[in-house]
Amino acid sequence: MTDVLAPTPTQHHDDHHGDEHHGPTGIVKWLTTTDHKIIGLSYTVTSVLMLVIGGFFAEIIRLQLSSPNGSLVSLAQYNELFTMHGSVMIYLFVGPFAFGALANIIVPIQIGAPDMAFPRLNALSYWLYLTGSITMLSGFFTSGGAANFGWVGYAPLSNSLNTPGAGADLWIGGLLLTGFSAIFTGVNLTATIFYLRAPGMTMFRMPIFTWNLLVTGILILLAFPVLTAGLIMLYCDRHFGTHIFSNTGGGVPVLWQHIFWFWGHPEVYILALPMFGMVTEVIAVFSKKPVFGYKGMIFATLTIAALSLGVWAHHMFTTGVVLLPFFSIMSLLIAVPTGIKMFNWIGTMWRGQIWFSTAMLMSLGFLFTFLIGGLTGIYLASPPLDFFTHDTYFVVAHFHSVVMALVLGAMAGLFYWGPKITGYILDERLGKAQFWFLFLGSQVFTFPQYLLGLYGMSRRMAVYPEQPQWQHLNELSTLGALMIGVSTILFVINIGYSWKKYPAGDNPWDAQTLEWFTTSPPPHHNFYRLPQIRSERPTWDYNHPEHRSLEHGTDHVVGAETEAHA
C-alpha cells in the first residue's frame, strides 16, 4: 500500500515523542486552548451536564403529573419548570451536543484536517455557549423566577406586561449568546469541511457523519440568524416600546411564531442530522459493511434540509392564518427522504455480521424510537389531524419519541467515539444496562402520552382535577421517565467505573473512516501519516484491501473509474 500523504513528518504512529504541544498545562491550557479536541470535550461535558439538569426538571414535572391534583410544585413553578426543561434540552443540550461536541472532535479528523478552520472562533463558540447557558439558568435566582412562557416564548405572552421580570430577559440574553455560538460553529464547520479536506478526500468520499455536519452547518447559517433577529425584536418590544409582536400599535403577534418556527423547524434537523450521522457510522461499522446507498443517503439529507426550510407553518395550522395545503404537502414530503434513510440503515445491516456492542444497541434503539416518532409525525402534517391533536400530549409524545431517539443516537456516538477521544473503552455491561433502561424507559414514557393526547389531555397543565381517569397512564409515563433517569445515572457511574480501565488501541471496532487510522487519543494535530483515500472509508480499505465496496450482484468496485483517472 502507498500511504504517504503525510502533512507531518512520517513516523510510527505509536510514537508520541514528536507530539508534545509546547504551551500551558492544566486549567490554563483548558481556558486558553484552541485545540478542537479539547473544545469538543468541553462541549461534550457541558452539554451532558445540561442533559442531567434538564432531565432533573423533567423528573419533577413527571412526579407532579403522577396525580390529578399534584402539589409537588406551584402553578408558577410548574410553568418555569417546563419552560426551562424545554429550553435547557433544546438550546443547551441537544443542539450544542449535536454540532459542538462530537462534531467538533470528529469532523476534522474524519477529513484528515489538523484542526477546525478557525480555531479561535471555535473557542469563542464554546465560551459563548457556556456563558449563555449560565445566563439562561440564572433566571432561577431572580426574584420573579426563571422564564415561564414555554420554550417557544409565544408573543404576546412573552411581552413585558404578561411576563415582567428579569428571568425572561435572561432567557432572551442566554438564547442570543448560544445562538451566536451556534452561528460561529456553523461558519467553522462549513469552512472546515469545504477547505481543509486531506488530499484525495473528495466530497463524495466524505463519511456520512461529515456530510451531515456540513448540511447542519449550512442549515445553522440559514436558520439561526432569523432567531437572533427575532429575539432582538422581542427584547425591543419588552424594553424599548416597539410594537413588533403586539396586537396594537401596528404589530402582529403571529409574526413571532413565523420567525420562531422559521428557525424552529430547520432546528429540528440541525439537532437530528448529526445524530443520524453518528448512527449511520455505528451501524456500518458494527455490521461490517459500507453504508448502503451512500450517495442516495446524501441526496436524502440534502432534500430534508431543503424541505425543512419550507415547512415551518405546520406548527401553526391551528392559528387559522396560514395556507394549509402548501405546508401540509411540504411536511408530508419530508417523510420520503426520511424513509430513504430508514431503508439505507436497514440495507446497511442486511446480510451483515452484526456485532451487538453498546453503540450498536443504542443505534438499534434509535431506529425503533425514531420510526415511532417519524410515523406519528406524518399525522401532524395533515391539518385536520393536527386540529385534533395540536397542543395535546400526542404532540408531546411525538417530539419526545424523536428526541429520545436522538438521545439514543447521541449515546451511540459517545460509546463509539469515546475510545478514540479518551483512549479508553467504556464498560460494555454497564453500557448495555444503560441501553435497556434508556430504550425501554423511552417507550414506557411516550406510549401512555400518545394515548393521553388522544383522550384529550393538553400540554402544559400542572393539574387535571376533572379527569382523574388519566392518572394511571400518567403514572406509567412517570415510571418511564424514572427509568430514563436511572439510565443517565448508570452512564455517569460507567464513566467513573471505566476511568482509564480498558485501553482502546487505535481501532478497537475494526472501523472504517479516517479517524480510526490515527492514535487514540489523536496527537496534537491529529495525524502522523494518512492512508491513501480512495473511498469514504480509507481505514477499512487499508486494513481490508480485498473487501472494497461493491455494486449489487457484481464484483464491480464502487468508484473504480475515478481511481483509474487519478
Partner: protein, 286 residues
C-alpha cells in the same frame, strides 16, 4: 387493504428470504381483516360533530397506513437483527449500491404521500367549510376564562377558570363561531369535537361545526396563556333546537338586555386596550 399490503410487500422485499418473510407478515394482517368489519379507532373516537367524524375517519386511514408501513419496516429491521447476527469472523459481501431497489423505496413513499395528501385535502375542505347559518356565537378568550356572546340575542355567558362557563348550542344545526382573544393567545379545544383553534388577539378566527349528539362536553384552553392556564375550562352544552330557543328567550328581560349591552361594550373596550410602550410612551400608556 390486503391488496395494498401485498403490493408494498412486493416492492420492498425481494429474493427467497423475503418470500418467507412475506408469508410470516401476511398472518397478522389477515387476522386483522378477518377479525371483523369494524376498523379500530387506534385510540381516537368519532366525536360528536360531523367534522369530528370526518377527522376520525382520516385518523383511521392514516393509522392503517402507519401500521402497514411501520410493521413492514420493523419486520425488515427485526429480520436483519435476528438473521444477520455475527457468526464467526468472515467479512460479509460489501454491497453498497442496488439502484433498482433504491428507486423502488423512493417511489413508493412518494405515492403513499400523494395518497395521504389527497385524503387530507378532502377532509380538510369539510372541516374548514363555512356554510351560511343563523346560529352565531362570538367566543372571546381572556386570562383566564371564556365569554360567549350570541349576536342578535341578549344571551351572554361569562366565567373564569373552574367556573366553567357553558356555551349552549343547538344540535343538528350549523354553528358559526367567531373566535378572538383580548390579551394573549389561547386555544379553543373541545375534545369531543376532535378540533382546536387558536384565539388570537387582533384576529377573528372563524369556523363552523354541526353537533350530531346532545350532551355536555368538556372544553379547555390548550395554548399556554399564563399562570392559571391549567384551570381555563369551559363546557359546550348541545341541546335540541327547541330547547336552544327556550334558553335564548330566558335572557329577554330588561336586566338581560342591559347585561348584554354592558358585555358587548366591555368587550369592545378590552379589544381596544393597548400594550405598554414604556419608555418610548406614545399614546397607549400602562
Amino acid at each position: 387493504m390486503l391488496k395494498s399490503v401485498r403490493n408494498s410487500g412486493d416492492a420492498r422485499t425481494r429474493g427467497r428470504a423475503s418470500r418467507r418473510a412475506r408469508r410470516v407478515l401476511a398472518l397478522p394482517f389477515a387476522a386483522l381483516v378477518l377479525s371483523g368489519c369494524t376498523v379500530p379507532g387506534f385510540g381516537a373516537s368519532p366525536g360528536d360533530t360531523t367534522s369530528s367524524q370526518s377527522t376520525f375517519h382520516l385518523w383511521q386511514g392514516f393509522s392503517i397506513g402507519a401500521v402497514i408501513v411501520g410493521g413492514l419496516t420493523l419486520a425488515l429491521m427485526l429480520w436483519s437483527i435476528v438473521m444477520h447476527r455475527q457468526k464467526g469472523d468472515a467479512i460479509p459481501k460489501q454491497t453498497q449500491y442496488n439502484v433498482p431497489l433504491e428507486i423502488i423505496y423512493t417511489v413508493i413513499p412518494i405515492l403513499i404521500v400523494i395518497g395521504l395528501f389527497a385524503a387530507t385535502l378532502v377532509v380538510e375542505n369539510k372541516v374548514v367549510a363555512n356554510p351560511k347559518t343563523d346560529v352565531i356565537v362570538n367566543v372571546n378568550a381572556f386570562q383566564w376564562g371564556w365569554e360567549f356572546l350570541y349576536p342578535g340575542h341578549n344571551a351572554v355567558v361569562y366565567g373564569q377558570t373552574t367556573q366553567s362557563p357553558v356555551m349552549v348550542i343547538p344540535a343538528n344545526e350549523n354553528v358559526h363561531v367567531n373566535l378572538t382573544s383580548t390579551d394573549v393567545i389561547h386555544g379553543f379545544y373541545v375534545h369531543a369535537f376532535n378540533f382546536s383553534r387558536y384565539a388570537l388577539p387582533g384576529v377573528t378566527n372563524q369556523f363552523t361545526f354541526r353537533a350530531t349528539n346532545t350532551g355536555t362536553f368538556f372544553g379547555q384552553c390548550t395554548q399556554l396563556c399564563g399562570l392559571y392556564h391549567s384551570y381555563m375550562y369551559f363546557r359546550v352544552k348541545v341541546v335540541s333546537p327547541a330547547d336552544y330557543q327556550k334558553w335564548l328567550a330566558t335572557f329577554n328581560t330588561p336586566k338581560g338586555e342591559a347585561a348584554a349591552k354592558a358585555a358587548a361594550a366591555s368587550l369592545q373596550q378590552q379589544l381596544s386596550t393597548g400594550v405598554p410602550t414604556l419608555p418610548a410612551n406614545t399614546k397607549f400608556g400602562r
